[in-house]
């Protein structure tokens, strides 16, 4: 898991971007820029909340982060800051600011895959060419995923059927995300920041269910019975 100062999470209300308060703002802003370009398509149209934690923020600090986000065409829904002065500065910068939710914030679970994604959706039909599904958590398709269709998920993707289209799992950078299918023959497969395609020639037909995941910095596909979790 890369050491990261930016944690992007899916919540039931949309996307939350949390900045590590221990990292200088400039570094955090740079990393944010990088992460946004990785998963640009994912953020489009999403409701995004920025959480700075206890960090003290001035009006110009807020404007700087707004600049980073607006270059990726992201409009902030609201911001969360523990510090009242930071919230006031945010309001001065034209943002909707709120204190952290009353219930205890969960520990920043970096890389703890199961904790980052707590939600999933079930799509109970075949996704045909032209269909696109985006979700911040896990996605299960009960049907086929045909060529020309795509699923982009923050967590894992499971296809209970034939996967012939394009899938991006862990689109917000989760290196532990996996893709499983009864018949795994994707046009293209993306896991976190990696892109893979099946070999052009001599591809064997999948003989059974398979799972794709990242191992030693590369995407590998294994038969389900050999993929020890």
């Amino acid at each position: 898991m890369p050491n990261t100062s930016v944690v992007i999470k899916g919540t039931k209300d949309g996307l939350s971007i949390a900045l590590d308060p221990a990292v200088p703002l400039g570094d955090a802003a740079n990393e944010l820029t990088g992460r946004l370009t990785e998963a640009l398509s994912f953020f489009q149209g999403a409701r995004v909340v920025l959480d700075v934690g206890p960090r003290a923020m001035s009006e110009s600090d807020w404007q700087r982060l707004q600049g980073v986000l607006s270059r990726s065409q992201i409009v902030l829904h609201s911001v969360v800051a523990e510090d009242e002065a930071s919230r006031q500065a945010a309001r001065a910068a034209g943002l909707h600011a709120a204190p952290p939710p009353a219930r205890a914030r969960p520990a920043q679970s970096r890389g703890a895959h199961a904790e980052v994604h707590t939600e999933g959706i079930l799509i109970r039909r075949t996704l045909r060419s032209g269909a696109a599904e985006r979700h911040t958590g896990h996605v299960v398709v009960l049907g086929d995923l045909n060529p020309g269709a795509e699923v982009v998920a923050g967590g894992d993707v499971v296809v209970w059927g034939s996967l012939r289209g394009v899938v991006h799992a862990g689109c917000m950078g989760d290196q532990e995300a996996v893709v499983c299918a009864l018949y795994l023959a994707p046009t293209q497969l993306r896991l976190a920041g990696l892109v893979a395609r099946p070999p052009d020639r001599g591809e064997g037909r999948p003989l059974g269910p398979e799972m794709a995941r990242i191992r030693d910095g590369a995407i590998v596909v294994e038969a389900w019975d050999r993929a020890k979790r």
Binding site: R125, T126, L127, R128, S129, G130, A131, D144, N146, P147, G148, A149, S162, R164, L189, G193, L194, V195, A196, R197, P198, P199, G202, E203, G204, R205, P206, L207, A212, G217, A218, I219, V220, V221, E222
Partner: protein, 272 residues
Amino acid sequence: MANVITITSGKGGVGKTTATANLGTALAQRGCKVAVVDADIGLRNLDVVMGLENRIVYDLVDVVEGQCRLRQALIKDKRLPELYLLPAAQTRDKNAVDPKDMIKLCDQLREDFDFVLIDSPAGIEQGYKNAVAPADQVIVITTPEVSAVRDADRIIGLLESAEKRSPRLVINRLKPSMVKRGDMMDTADVLEILAIELLGIVPEDDSIVASTNRGEPVALNGKTRAGMAFQNIARRLLGDEVPFPEFNNASGLLGRLWGFVRSRPIDFKARN
């Protein structure tokens, strides 16, 4: 009460117009009263394929705009007394009518006909939407080519989300010899992707080109292979159980290529 059936494909050139003309002909030969409607406004073809081009006075847009009565625009076929054509306008475009107009028009046609067959334009835009709006049933046509199957899949997805009754599939221009050599997708390959009910398989047949150019649908002559296939589809539309001919059983292109490689390489080519 008429059955309104739209024939569509997504991709152009796969045989929508030919199929419409031939199914209309085959149904009329079986004693049904049939209206074929050309919804490809601006690129009309159905009249040419049926050899009725020189009889057009009014067209679909004239009816919708109230320039004439429906009865005046319907052209009686020169061979079959139960077959009528409602031609498209050639000097207008798809935006000249909207889905509501088409539904209203087809409701009028329902009163007088057993079958209304609508020839859809290619694409998924306004013209397609107009053609599909009044349909009770949809027939999706594809050829055994990856690109045509991809577009058919897109169309089927759109029909499903529009909550139309599940469409049925016609595979057109299948070449049994190519399938046998493993150079063409076979019926099973196509159905594996599209997964909808198969209504018919039409083999590639040179007589289609000849008959289209003469303006005589090939179904008039039940002796040609394509003509026979269209007759079979017409019978299935009327509820008959007609077995599918055997030319679709050879293992297809994809199956063969895969068959050579037993083990599957574990590593995907990864690039960052």
